[in-house]
Every structure is written in structure tokens, then in C-alpha cells.
Subunit: 326 residues, 4 copies
């Protein structure tokens, strides 16, 4: 059994993933992409940063673009339940021998920065500025009508180790891919907020950010986005899909932003709040785990990802090869 | 401010609503309705009861029909996080002066039965038989493709009192309707699992069950159900909708089962996991709270509901009148 | 049998309905409604008129708004196959004793103006300015994403007489409602272009224009329009729906423009090109003919309509009452 | 200009494509595929043949499967307007030096069999048995909910010659792909019934049937079919898609039946009834003509097709290479 039992009494209470901070080498072009094509709402902007939220989010931001010379990611960020959870998180990371810092982040209260054992930078906060609801201001909806951030997916050089650490933090595995021969994990999906995942790990040169995903109402919105991107100069930014994942059962599309950061558009996964929710096992050789309908992912999807600032990724310890399009 | 602050350290951890037990005066006809027309999956049946689950549920049942001479409801039932939570729940109800019993329920572990201050019967359990996933067995999908139970809505003779009690249990208000004159609650929606509600209360002769709701993938499934019901002898069972609720922003349809038990088909509400998620206020005089598109609900929707076994409902303390179709 | 046999060798070849010219008492407000909310494309505008087309239309206009002091309609307009058909049409109308005039219309070639026996003004042309395709310029789509004009519906004081005349012109009945007692037609749907109708007649004070309909891709677009109208000040302009018609099997919504002109948003009817396509009979007492799902239409839907310029409507000869919401 | 002007006064009036007769080497397996998975309705069956119609069709059949030792096609079949058109068609084919035969076909009146200049077998009839409407018997809908046959697509060894012949018959070109260098046609789409096509030709070893297409309500039905096929043993029968065609703008999926006959599931093209409807030109080097979203078709899609009974196909005269997935 390659996945650890869920830790039902975790050291601190992570509510959900919150946001990601991405470098943009052409901030104006990237803003245009996320605002006009994807349809995220700009909540603040200055000369060097743009903040976005989804249509149903009341927290100030789920995505921050920062003007940068290289298109790296600063951190993947999470919201905890209470101020006490923030201090408990700090204690947990210190106890694991990880570096801990309290950092200043606009529009947020106290923010803890640390990293997982592979150096993947993570940030936790308790309080972020709250904004008035806009989910019923339908005149503002555009693009793919993104409702909220859904999850992160990161390359890990050792998925077993990543899952062990994140499970200790209270993340619960919902589905996983195993290499039958070695009994090693190829990939795993872990959640806090009651869907299939807040965070996933996939075997590869890492840590790198594989993608950030946004939740949309239904598959028709994804078709609308494809039509729009195909006829507004973004046809080359469509990487994979549309399709139904075997894992998660979600309807998906993968696109690349102007810097190559990968974005998943995602809907239709399922509820996982039960503490006794059983993880689903997939074999690495089953092509339907990737796409239920059988189409393999392109090679770029397995190889390309976003580096984290100042972090050299390590090659994976597991050499198994995924199924790719010829 | 008519809604209490959320209790972020509740006496016990309720994971989610779980199921409802309904009396069926013609068990075969009711089974046909839920199995063939709605599309719930039968997980067990004997001479006097039928158990159902939604397509993504792994717990044994979300609906139990029991052969009965009167079409009452036995209880609204909830799942708690751990066995310790079950004992803590028993202590809580005892502390509130409510009767507490441990009852035997098929396919479930220890089950606590109690009631809220108006006598609304509630049951809590920690462990239910788990079944293999069927959410990717698409040949089994039929009817409205119901994925899971979503919420209960009950008439309450005193919504302020109901909300106070359920808030103390850790349910958090997401939206509410207030009578501007009296500052009394007309209705409130409260959740545990991170959507708009697990439980709602609406002013009226109560306690009575107003409806149980099932989550479906998207509005097209609801249109499919309407077409099916309209042409298979169930056109008279369509009560209200389809439409978009102002409150919850969900796309909805209300139908009546062969005994008149009201079922809502529901999708597209929003995520509410943040502990600082602010409730949305609606005024009782705003017709768009009911249906964003303006159509009022029929009178039956305000007046009819399912009695609970052996419980005489009381008239509401709030006399304000809702907006109904002329 | 109340409907005449189709005339399979008509006196002239009408290709399809083409456009309607409507008076607008506040031209700017009406333009905003059709352009921004409905999403029709403006193809030309001057101080006193605005021309629109749907997203897949290449003819110059399907709707013309003209600044006016009263919100009347000028004519319902049709395209014929060839110039010879135009002359044949003139001969047909003359032969029926109807007035015939050749009128100047911007962006069109020779245009014939006449009227049916009740005085309903009709115009026919052969050539209209053609515009480049925009159906794949997805950045232009907005509102309900209207693709093309679909049909007209007019009140007639004598539906039997209207159907007889229009059948002689080559329009073919696809569905009809009969008053069982009198064997008189209550309403009929007639087509040229291969759908359920280009033109329909319904019993009532007439001739008046009941509505003009635009075809949209699918029901989700209609839901989007409802959400948009409900939250941008147009909730009072939603008159009936959404629903599925029994007659035509189409998914529909009826809205009113700022002058009260009724617009139907329509999709999902069926193909009727076969010359031996049999009309479908509905009884006037069947509520599902209006809405398959059972909801009756509001009284306004039976009583209100757009007058034609300079034409006094006559009361209907058939007194039968439709089914209306209480 | 590589496409001929439309013949607006054709020698006979073809209403629409009607049906195709396909050989099935395992009739039971093929019936199961079309009836249970696709959802066509069986209208008649005997030991050696099964007849199907779509949900809105009233003609007896749009597809005939005949037990066969080789999976060939018998003919592509069309409905003409009147008996006189049938005789005019016979005269036309004789005048073109093509063989003409009157054949017996079950459930049809007089049937003319001939072939185009490449030998592609065609059949025309005027009268087919008519069946009662079932489009509102929603309990019968299953699979992809196929409404009607939409078009044929055939490989032609000389698309210019095919288009010249079929244009003379009154088929009108709506879109075409041209090899810029040679000014030769690579492919063309021609219609009679007012959509993008009843018949298309694509360059290749031919005549062979490339595919037959069925119209479905909307893209969600195609997603449902993919989910169903993927989980009922048909994942290997999914060949290409889902996607949006550049040409036709339709949403599509290509699947293969148990004998490898290719079926397209198709929706969302546009109306083309105007006699002055201008054809749209595509360049052979534009990958978006195949799939607007950029994904190339697999090699099998360009190479594989169904042979016609007793007909040896010829290699194409145009050597240009299409764009294929690597």
C-alpha cells in the first residue's frame, strides 16, 4: 500500500490552497491574457504586480503576477483556519528542520514562508483582505468564467517523500498512480478542502510547478475558451485537451500563458469530505488514468514546468516512463 | 445583525449531511420514481425498504424509502468525523436538555438520535458501509444523473431559534433572509461541508421537511429531467423551476415524488470553506432572492411539506408573508 | 382536417424570412438592448436607424430599428430565390387583389411591398448586401450569442384564412392547434427554410406582430442571458420561460425589448425539408402544447403584441380561450 | 476560382441525403453499437438486416446494416422532391453516360441506382415509409441522442471532377480546401438541405466512404458519448476529437463502428439556404481548417475508409499532403 493513512488529527488546519505568485516577463501581455482571455477579475494593480480573483472568490487574490526577468514562481500559498494554526504551522516546519520566515505580503495578514523537504516554497496566512461578492454581477463574466482557484500540481523528484510530508500536514490522498514493479508512487492527488485535490505531485525534475488550475462552471465554458483562444492569436497556447481525466474524473483543458506557465481549466470532480474516503489506485500503464477517452498527453506536458525562484530542481529518483503521444 | 457569529470551535465535528429516511405509501411506485426517473442507484432493497446512493457517493445510502401508511420523514441524518465526535454530540444534546438515544440502523455503525429544540429529529453516525466507486461506470447513469445528496431544507416555527441552535453545533450561515421591519430571520442557509448549505430553515408551520436536494452536474441534466418527466406521466410532479436562485446562485428545479415529498435538483452553488466567509443578506421583499430571474414560487412551495413521524408542527411566530405567484 | 395540403409547386420561391423593421421610441436604449444584452452585431447605423445581423448571417440585416414616436412594426420581410421570383410574387399578390408597390430599402435590391388578406404588411427582395463571415470571430460573441433570425409569429383575426393564403404562397404547415369543437385553427406554424417555421399565426386581435425569434446555439446561452438580464436592470423584461415548447420541441425564452416588442430566443427545433413531412396536430385544451413541462404562459403573452404601422387590427373570429397562468 | 458557380436551376430536385447501407460482419455486435451506444432507434430488423432512424426522423431509415462477409458500403442514398424528379434524375445520369437501374429496396418506393463518374454508387428515391414522430418520447433517448443523419463524406481520386459533377446535379459548395500551388481542390463540402453539407469529397484513394455523420443536439451529448464509450469497452473506437472544425464550424467527434466504418457525431454548423451564399476558401496548409483549436487529425483519418461493394478505388491525382499528427 503505497499511500500513507490520512492524518486525521493534523498539526495545523489548512483550509485550502489560496494563490500562486508567478513571474511575468511582459506584465502587460500576461495581464491581458488572464484578464481578457481567461476572464479573471483584476482586484489591484501597480507598476510591478497585478492581483486577480475568480468570480466567486471573496479573498483578495488567487493569482499574483509580478514583473520579472525570468518566469519563475515565488511560492504556492495556503490559507489556514486561525491565527493559532499559523503558529502551529511554524512549529511544525521548524520541527521538520525546515527554514521558517515571517514575510510581508500585500493584502494579507501575518504570512509564514517555509518549504517542504525538496525545497518547494510554501506560504501560509490566516487573514487576507475580503472583497464584496461579485458572483451575481453577470455582466463582469468573460472568457472561461473562472470561479475560483482549484489546485496546484508540482513535479517532485520523489513523490513518495512528498506525499509522506504533505500527509503529515493533514493533506489526504484521493487518487494515486503507482508503478506496479517498484511499488513506488508516480503521482498523487491530495486535498484539504473537500475536492479531489488542493495539491498534486507528479514524478519529474523537481520541485517545479506543473500547473495551477481554475474551476469553471461546466464543459461548455471550456469549449467557449477554446473557440476564443483559437481565433484571437492564442491557438499555439493550447497544449492538451479538452478531455476527461481518468484520475479525478474532471473535464479539463491545459493552456500555457504568455510565459509558458501552465494553467489548467477544470470542472466536474467530486466531493471527498469523508474522513474514511478511500483513495483510488491507478496503474502507471493504464492510459485512461490520464485521459479517460484514451488520448495520450503530449511530451511537453511531462517535461515542461515552471521553476521556483532560486531553486535548482533535482532529477526524479523514479525512472518509469509515462505514456505519451508518439 | 440577525445571524450569530460562526462557532469556529464547535462541540463536535459534523462532516456533512448524510441521508434522509422517507415513508413511502406505495414503495414500488416510489422506487420506480427515484431509480428510473431521477436515476439514483439502488444499493439494497428488502420487502419494506429501499436504499439509494448518488453516482459519486461511496457511503451506502443517501436516501432510504420505507414502506409506510403515512408519508412522513423519520429523521434528517448527518455524518460526524470520528467516534469521539459521536460521543461529544451526545453530550452536547444532553447538555441542551434534548432527549438522546442510541438506535440501530442497517449499514451504519453506532447511531445517535436526538432532536433540536423544536423537536426536529436528527441522527448522527460515524461509520456507514462503504461501496466501490461507480462514478466512472457511465453506463449506469440515467435520469438527472444525481451525483450526491446536497442539503435539507426544513420549515421552522422560529428560524432565529433554529439558527441559534444549529450555529452552536458549528453550522455556519452563508445566506439569510431578514424581515426588515422586525429584524427577524425569515430563512437561513447553514453549511458544514463547504457549499452553501447542508441545512436550511424557512419560516412556516414546523418542524416539517421542506425538501431534500440532490446535486447534479449541470443545468442540461435538469432540462433532460424535465423533458423526461413531461413525457412519462410525471408532468404534474413538476412544481417549480427551472430557474436560478438569488440565494445560493444555484440552478434549481423542484419536483414532488409520488407521495408529495419535495425533491430539489440543484447545481452550481459556490465554495464556502473559509472560516471568515461573510453571510449574504437578503431582504424579504426582494423577489430575486427566490428566483434571480424574477418568477415567484407557487403557493404550494410555501405551504406544503413533509411531517416528521409522531411530531406535531407548530405555527410560525413570524407572520410576514412571502412573495408568491398570483 | 383543418390544414390545407402543402402547395409543392408554389407561384414563387420564398427562401426564408429575412428581417423585421421595428419602431424604437428611444433608439439609443433599444440599440443598447439588442447590441449589448442580446449580442446582435451592428452592421450600420445613422441618426435614425440601426441595422443588425446575427453571428452567422452574411446578409446585411435581420433587424432594423427606426427612430419612431410609436413602437410599431413596418413589415415582416422575406428573401426570394431569384429576380424572376420577385416578379412572380408581384403577379401573385396582384392576382389575389392585394396592393403591390416597389419600394426603396437601404442595402437591398428591388423590394416588393404588399400585404396578406388581413392587411399584414410583407416585403420581398432578392438581393441584399452581403457581408464577410464573422461566425468564427469568437471575440465578437456576446449576450445570448444570437446566430440568425429564425421566425416571425403574428396574431391573426382568422387563422384559417391566414393559413390558406400563406399555404398558397408555398409555406408548409408543420404543427397546428385546433379547437376541437369548431374544427377551427387556433394557431399554425409554417415554414419555407426547413425548420419548424418561418411564420406562425395565432388567434387574436390582428394582424399584430406577436414576436420575432432569434436562433441561439443551445439552452446554456439562454440561461446566460437570463443571468445577465436579471442583474443588469432587465429583470422586468423577462416575460416567459425558459422552457421547452410542446409545439416545435424548441427550448425558448420570451423577453420584451425597451418598447415592449417581444423577442423569442429559440433553439433545438427539427428539420422539416421533406415534401411529405406530416403536420403535427395539437388540441387547444392540451397545456403541454405551450410548454411541454406544464407551466402555462402569462396573460400578457396572449394579449400583447406590436401593431403594424397604419393598420387597425380586427378582433378574432374564434372566441376560444387559451390556457393561461391563473 | 476552383469551385464552380452553383447551378440554381438543377436538372432535378434532391431534397437531402437520406441513408447509407453498410455491410456488417457481425450484425449483432454492430446493432448493439448503433442501438445501445449511439442510441439510434431500430425501426425494423430481420435475420440479415437492421434498419435505424434518428430521434426526429419520420422516414423509415437513415442507416441500414446488412449482414456481410466484407464491411463494404452498398450506396449513398438521397431523397428527391417528387416522382418527376426521380425520372429527371434518371435522364440526367443517362445523359452523363452513367449506368442507370431501377432497384427494389424495402420500405421505399421506386429507387434509382446509378453512379458518379468515378463509380461512386448513388441511389435516389421519392417515397419512403413514414413513421410516427418520436422526438418527444424522451424515455427512448439514449447514447449520444442522435437526431438525424447529417451528411456523407467520400474520398475522391479527383475532387475537382467530383465537385463539377455534383454541382451540375444542383449541390452547392459551402466551403473548400485548395492546394495553393496547383489551384486544385483538396476537399469540398456541398449541400442541398440548407446546412454545410449533404455530401463532401476529400482527396484520396477513391471512391471510398470516409464517414457518415449524425446530428446531435449539442456538445454535451458528445461528451456523454465519450464517457460512455470509454467505460464500456469502446475506448479503442474513438478516433479523433472532440473538437471544433475550422471548416463548417461544427463541433465533432469521429468514432469507428465494430467493422471500422467511420461515424462522425456532429452539431452546430450553420444555415446555408441563400442561393447567393458564398463558399469559404481554406488553404491546404492551414491547420485550423481541420481543427479550429489546432490539433491535427491522426494518420488513420486520412488513410482509412470504407470500400464500396464491387468497386476498386483509384489513387488520387493530387499528391499534396495533408497535415497530420506526428
Amino acid at each position: 500500500m503505497p499511500v500513507p493513512a490520512p492524518n486525521l488529527t493534523p498539526p495545523f488546519n489548512t483550509v485550502r490552497l489560496s494563490h500562486v505568485v508567478l513571474g511575468a516577463t511582459d506584465l502587460e501581455a500576461s495581464r491581458r491574457f488572464y484578464e481578457t482571455t481567461l476572464g479573471l477579475q483584476v482586484t489591484d494593480a501597480d507598476a510591478d504586480a497585478v492581483y486577480f480573483r475568480g468570480m466567486e472568490e471573496r479573498g483578495h487574490h488567487c493569482l499574483v503576477l509580478r514583473r520579472a526577468t525570468t518566469a519563475t514562481a515565488q511560492a504556492v500559498c495556503f490559507k489556514v483556519w486561525s491565527e493559532a494554526d499559523l503558529d502551529a504551522a511554524a512549529a511544525f516546519f521548524r520541527g521538520q528542520g525546515r527554514p521558517v520566515a515571517w514575510v510581508e505580503r500585500p493584502f494579507q495578514g501575518r504570512t509564514l514562508r517555509s518549504s517542504d523537504p525538496h525545497g518547494l516554497p510554501v506560504e501560509f496566512y490566516h487573514r487576507m483582505d475580503r472583497l464584496p461578492p461579485i458572483h451575481q454581477r453577470y455582466a463582469l463574466y468573460r472568457g472561461v468564467k473562472p470561479l475560483r482557484i482549484d489546485h496546484f500540481n508540482c513535479f517532485s523528484p520523489d513523490v513518495d517523500a512528498s506525499v509522506a510530508f504533505w500527509s503529515a500536514m493533514g493533506f489526504r490522498v484521493t487518487e494515486y498512480t503507482e508503478d506496479a514493479e517498484t511499488r513506488r508512487l508516480w503521482a498523487a492527488w491530495l486535498h484539504r478542502k473537500g475536492g479531489v485535490h488542493d495539491m498534486a505531485f507528479t514524478n519529474g525534475l523537481g520541485p517545479r510547478l506543473h500547473h495551477v488550475a481554475f474551476w469553471v462552471p461546466n464543459p461548455m465554458n471550456i469549449i467557449d475558451l477554446l473557440d476564443l483562444m483559437s481565433t484571437t492569436g492564442y491557438v499555439g497556447n493550447i497544449e492538451r485537451g479538452p478531455g476527461r481525466h481518468g484520475i479525478s474524473n474532471a473535464f479539463f483543458l491545459y493552456i500555457r500563458d504568455p510565459d509558458g506557465h501552465r494553467v489548467e481549466i477544470y470542472c466536474s470532480d467530486y466531493q471527498t469530505v469523508d474522513p474514511d474516503h478511500e483513495p483510488i489506485h491507478w496503474d502507471l500503464t493504464d492510459p485512461q488514468r490520464q485521459t479517460l477517452w484514451g488520448a495520450p498527453a503530449p511530451r511537453s506536458w511531462f517535461e515542461e514546468g515552471t521553476l521556483f525562484e532560486g531553486l535548482d530542481p533535482a532529477p526524479p529518483t523514479l525512472a518509469a516512463q509515462p505514456i505519451v503521444a508518439p
